[in-house]
């Protein structure tokens, strides 16, 4: 019963940690707009955590530059299990217009398993909510497989 309670709670209180891996700030602004009174993701339990140790969902924006790659991987490895990685916008999925640049090390899926891709440049806040809801479902499944 306790395990079920935890699993249910997992779906209702996902905390986000946002990593900017060389983003142009477009996606960052859209992600913050999800938490504003207009879209208010807090009504679904989402909260922006300040430390990766508190997070359940890691949202990565930007094409993962060579400078940011070791930091991104280190921050992701600090997130306790179960965790879920969401790429936001086209950049972390493919590099987008930065693809082939000497300073870009992406896409992110070369280095870690990415659970959810949210496409768009930048995605609409509704699409971000869709993506986070999908990530929450995956989080719940992962919790169910633990222990």
């Amino acid at each position: 019963m306790f395990k079920k309670l935890i699993q249910e709670s997992m779906g209702k209180s996902p905390w986000l940690f946002h990593i900017n891996a060389g983003s142009c700030n477009g996606c960052d602004i859209e992600l913050v707009s999800v938490l504003t009174p207009r879209y208010d993701a807090e009504r679904l339990g989402f909260k922006l955590a300040g430390s990766p140790r508190h997070a359940d969902i890691v949202v990565v924006t930007g094409p993962v530059t060579k400078q940011s790659l070791p930091r991104v991987l280190r921050a992701i490895s600090q997130v306790p299990e179960p965790r879920c990685i969401v790429t936001m916008g086209s950049c972390p999925q493919s590099g987008n217009v930065f693809r082939g640049s000497y300073s870009v090390a992406g896409p992110l899926s070369k280095y870690v398993h990415v659970d959810v891709d949210v496409a768009g440049c930048a995605p609409k806040p509704e699409a971000v909510i869709d993506g986070l809801a999908l990530a929450t479902q995956i989080l719940k499944e992962k919790r169910g497989q633990m222990k």
């Binding site: 208010d40 999925q93 891709d117 949210v118 609409k124």
Partner: protein, 213 residues
Amino acid sequence: MDLPFVKEALHQLFSKSSCAMYPVVPSEAAPNYRGRIVYHPDRCLGCGMCERVCSGNAITRTVEHLPDDQGDKITLTFNLGSCTFCATCADFCSSHSIEFTGDYHMVATKEEDLLVSGSFIKAPRKKPAAPAAPAKAEACAAAEPAAEAPKPREDGKPVNDPAKCVYCTLCARKCPAGALTVDRAAKTWTLDEDKCVACGTCAEACPKNCIIM
């Protein structure tokens, strides 16, 4: 200490929130929103202009030669995970076969889910037409002194009006298929019919409106 929001907070406590309750209440994208790409292969000519203008390298065009002279199978794949949704491809498409819809639900767990793809079979050129092609090009050049306005062709490929043409080479530079050769010095305008896809880019680019489709 300055507290400008006291009244606002008390007022909001007893009034309705300004939330858009998104997952419960569905939301439409704004008009002219550039969302998921829809590709119409039935309209496409396969000129490859979209691939050339794409800044995010999101479009790939593959040509597969079918056996027994059935023609070429041309496949265009749009990777939404690499797209900037700038719509330059749709602007450049002369046959309007790329459409940006208001669908913004582009969420996927696998990268393949973000691919939009379509293919069509381009019919092969008729056998007798092939030897006739250079002759026609010559005929076009030879018709130069005749100074009468040429008629549009039935297969939709361009015809030059030598009376108006100034041989600026703009059409040759714009042609996505590289089918046009224009020599300024010799004042010749030559069309390679094997390469031409009848997209109409040359006619649009012509400053003198002397190309007839």
